[in-house]
Symmetry: C2
Subunit: 273 residues, 2 copies
């Protein structure tokens, strides 16, 4: 049976999506079609959302699941009258918070991911700029300003991890890929030695690396399992010898890799976006 | 009164943070200190978390607020016995979902942001690679593979928006900054004309642009209010004339800009990370 899942919000819908996915991940083998409806800020938009939910109910022959972060009570009431199972993400928690904080909440639309804290915005942009300027062995002179320098073989997950660290946590992360020459030399490149305490290694299962590289350069020596095995083995043993912390990215999500790095290094995030 | 807010998870803590921030944004003038404790997967880690919550309660003279996404009932029970107001993000919704889906949930730790869907991972990495290769007017030849080409004056928010679109939605977004020469010519650059239907403009209040550019190059002509006003006015009128959709990034978060662009263009996301 097909299911439709809706994420409905007066803002971006990202909170509803994040919580909804986490909850649905608890159910094995659940197949569903996802629809996000952001910026539901007036009764016309709420009615359109209800029409889409009801159409999905009819088409699926099953009740759609609706994660709602609508804050306005009129909008919420409208969506609750749909044919979906409407889970009210906010109101379940606002009451205990109001009681504890001894004040009323605004019940205002678009509060989150809408109102901008300029200091947070600037810190994120500055960190993203840093990640882009110090990607893939670029900008070596800026390494002294890095919170972290990710090292590893080509395609071990360094770039997306640095970008995520900058965007989500405001952390200034550079990355340096070990070239074939670095691997063959089997010692830390000179440019990294001055920053050894800020190095963090990513490694990956050779089979997975071979698959990722194969998408990029099929049938190349670069993507061959023999080459991947040699590089991974050499770099892992080098990093262990140099006491650089090491994380296996093979089966982890970008979020998990980034969080693990902060957790293990104790690097403080600069922003809560 | 200072308040401490904890985000406690057996996985990354990102779900707890996202929901917690959205809820706390509903309370005006609330000052709080934030602590995320990820990877709470055994009783030792749960006890450590309880110690930190209780120490904060003592220090603040106020009950800490604890957003928990712990799935294991033993771990959850341990944290609930702390001195904090523990808000159980998951269990409030798992029961109605179990009833609706007519099956039990796994109550398993680390399900979200932990189990990796390789297709999603590969699509995200590929989109992030695309954004980096087509940043700031680079990689013009790849524009035919772009879902979207963001245009605007320098520092109008194009780069972080493209990076976010790629990471969060798997969308392939390039960006092209209007140079002084482009602005003076007052017509769409040749390279963009072939892709006009995929262009999307970002604009920004001249005062905000002046502030952002000033952080980068203080006291430059580039950062002067006169220059910023001229560039913004010229580019806005050019984009309106060419019927390129336009969004003002001045007071919006990166999340809101990115979501608005998908909403207005109808571009479909490739991933739900």
């Amino acid at each position: 049976m097909k299911r439709s899942v809706f994420f409905i919000s007066d803002s971006t819908g990202i909170t509803a999506e994040t919580l909804g996915h986490a909850l649905l991940a608890q159910f094995d083998d659940l197949e569903y079609r996802q629809v996000t409806i952001p910026f539901v800020r007036d009764s016309k938009a709420a009615e359109d959302a209800v029409d889409r939910i009801n159409a999905a109910a009819h088409e699926d022959g099953a009740r759609p699941i609706v994660f709602s972060t609508l804050t306005g009570s009129d909008l919420h009431r409208a969506v609750s009258a749909s044919d979906g199972l409407v889970l009210d993400v906010f109101n379940a928690f606002l009451r205990p918070l109001e009681h504890e904080l001894q004040r009323g909440s605004a019940h205002a639309t678009g509060r989150f991911h809408g109102l901008v804290d300029r200091a947070v915005y600037d810190a994120r942009i500055s960190a993203v700029d840093f990640a882009l300027k110090h990607d893939d062995g670029e900008g070596l002179k800026g390494y002294r300003e890095a919170d972290l320098i990710l090292v590893g073989v080509s395609r071990s997950g360094k770039t997306p991890t640095c970008v995520y660290l900058s965007m989500q946590f405001g952390v200034r992360a550079a990355n340096y890929p070990f070239t074939i020459e670095d691997v063959e030399r089997d010692s830390l490149p000179e440019v990294l030695k001055a920053h050894q305490e800020r190095l963090f290694g990513l490694t990956i299962a050779p089979e997975r690396l071979c698959q990722i590289r194969g998408q990029r350069r099929p049938d190349s020596r670069y993507a061959s399992l023999t080459q991947c095995r040699m590089e991974v083995r050499t770099v892992e043993s080098l990093l262990r010898r140099e006491r650089v912390p090491l994380l296996d990215s093979s089966t982890a999500s970008i979020e998990e890799i980034a969080t693990s790095i902060l957790h293990r290094t104790g690097i403080e995030r600069r922003v809560f976006p």
